[in-house]
Amino acid sequence: MGGPKIPIDLIMKKLAEDSEEVLKTVQKASDVLLGSLDTAISTTPCDIVYEEDRIKVKHYKPKTKDTLKTPLLLVYALINRETMLDLQPGRSTIQNFLDEGVEVYMIDWGYPTRKDKYLTIDDHVNGYMDNVIDFIRERHNIPEINLMGICMGGTFSVMYAALYPEKIKNLITTVTPTNFDTDQGLLHVWMKTIDADRMVDTLGNIPADMMNFGFLLLNPARLMIDKYVGFFQNVDNKNFVENFIRMEKWIFDSPDVPGETFRQFINDLYKRNLLIQNKMELGGRRIDLKKITIPLLNFYGKYDHLVPPGACERLTEAVGSRDTEDVCLDTGHIGIYVSSKVQKEFAPRIARWLKERDKPATVTATVKKTRGKTSLPKKEKKKTAA
């Protein structure tokens, strides 16, 4: 047969040479795996200050004296969990915000069950989000708060800021899709063809495992093979194993997505791209992005395969605000929150930006216009696997 020949003899020779080293690694690995491992996630102390149906609001209080006057509400996506922002000590966005003197509230969307399958985007934005924001405003006796959205939670935050501009002081969007008419990411290509109506009619809530499998398929070579090869290569490294398990815990801790919300997200956004065209409606009200006149800071990842730059960068042009800034980081979708290098810059930069605008309304109006893209200094740029 004229097929290619693999030099098996050489491979075997190499394996024999390495066998002693492999034996040592296996012994050390068993010590690591059978010993005590610290793999707890979301360990920063917090209080649950608000509960409604399945949702909870976590409150994190900074220990520093120099704190921002206006608290920040973090709105995570309905896919995966908000624990990603507090994955581990030393790599926690929440902890970094607290160190910078930012008082943080964060919505935990919980685990939707069968009774939640009728909940629409309207229920999440005009319902839960509005109730939570009113609660925080009342608690602090302030008319407006700072709002930061992550991924799908960012899209919800954009909708909210357009519908209730009087309640939001500053808006931060991170890896937030608002323009869905792009072929940059596979998700955008696939979502345009799927029949969301049939899926929801048949399945009700969209099962988390199904979504996870879909995400793994976005890059099977890396996410289903290379990732685990890397794990076995470092299985004797306790620190590596602990971090790896933390990430595994987070990535497969996925709630189902409420059926009607999924239907609306696919049909109105992925297929019709209504939001960026100011044509989307929630609860009978049209969302006009021009009504967002507050300062806007928009982060996205250059190598984001889920929400590519093309899905994020049109937002700053579409809103009515004159104080906007795009920040493109040399990282992927999750790297923004968990990469230790990006962490050094990400939360401090947001805190600085908020501090500059944490002044009485009359002063805020004089903040210089910074429309346009900026990037991190070159020396701090890095490619981080999401």
């Binding site: 290619p4 491979i11 009774k115 399958k117 009728y118 909940l119 319902g127 063809t193 099977p220 070579a221």
Partner: protein, 293 residues
């Protein structure tokens, strides 16, 4: 074999013999029953016994009618053609199987041919097409036979669920084979590369280098595949088949649950929707009331 023995094993004569014994048994049983009802004076009970009496009589007349030589011949004429039906079925199944095997052989003979980089236009999906065709034309017909009688509706549901499950399995196999293509292609590419460097004497001692390269090639092949229309069609096909199956399965579960004193999925969904709408209304009114204060 003697003629006598032939007569002995003739199904018509065996049937006549069995029918005669059955008629005699039910005849004598029915003659015993009228006396059993007499000690009871109640009119209601008497009526019940009269009904019981009529049952063996009906059986007797039914069997007698069947014992007529004309009816017997008609029945056995039908039985005669049974082997023919079985033969025809086996022939068609065998035909389908042969077609499938032929395609497998064709595919096997193509193995080892040069792998074309980043090209998925010539996907060999024929194997699944044949499988799907064989299933749809030959097997699924059995599950779609019109059902009759009181339980026809339930039988139809079971048949439909089984049919859709099989179609889902076919679509899933096709989809998995698509996902396997890049692995096949990248393995071929990297083995060609290894052969090349071995010939040149440049084979690196560090095999991780080749692993890294293989992962890179695999990633590239996957990216091309995922953007191809074949993949998108395959993805939609498997989702569609899955939804068809889940929907049929849900209907079947619904039927089963209806037999028990528990709420069905439909009942629960209706209840959840009512609660959802009520809660929404209450929250809206609460906000209005709070605004008035």
């Amino acid at each position: 074999m003697s003629e006598n023995q032939n007569e002995k094993h003739d199904p018509e004569s065996l049937m006549s013999f069995w029918m005669k014994s059955a008629t005699d048994f039910w005849g004598s049983t029915s003659r015993m029953w009228p006396d059993a009802g007499e000690p009871f004076q109640s009119e209601g009970l008497k009526k019940q016994f009269q009904k019981l009496e009529s049952a063996p009589k009906m059986w007797q007349s039914f069997i007698l009618a069947f014992s007529e030589p004309e009816s017997m011949s008609a029945l056995f004429k039908g039985m005669d053609i049974l082997p023919e039906v079985v033969l025809q079925t086996l022939q068609s199944e065998w035909g389908g199987y042969s077609g499938l095997q032929k395609k497998w052989m064709e595919k096997a003979s193509r193995m080892g041919k040069q792998s074309e980089d980043y090209k998925f236009e010539d996907l060999d999906k024929d194997i699944f097409k044949v499988w799907a065709e064989v299933y749809e034309k030959e097997f699924s017909q059995f599950l779609n036979i019109p059902q009759i009688g009181l339980t026809r509706f339930y039988q139809e549901r079971v048949g439909q669920t089984l049919n859709r499950f099989n179609l889902f399995q076919i679509a899933m196999s096709e989809f998995i084979s698509l996902l396997y293509l890049p692995v096949e292609k990248s393995a071929k590419d990297i083995s060609e590369k290894l052969e090349e460097v071995t010939k040149k004497g440049d084979l690196s001692e560090n095999f991780e280098e080749y692993y890294r390269e293989w992962i890179k090639i695999l990633e590239g092949h996957y990216m091309v595949l995922f953007k191809s229309t074949e993949y998108i069609q395959g993805l939609n096909k498997v989702l569609d088949a899955g939804e068809n199956y889940f929907s049929a399965r849900n209907h079947l579960i619904e039927d089963i649950l209806q037999l028990f004193p528990v709420a069905t999925n439909k009942d629960m969904d209706e209840l959840c929707k009512e609660i959802y709408l009520l809660k929404k209304e209450v929250k809206k009114l609460s906000k209005k009331v709070a605004g008035l204060k």
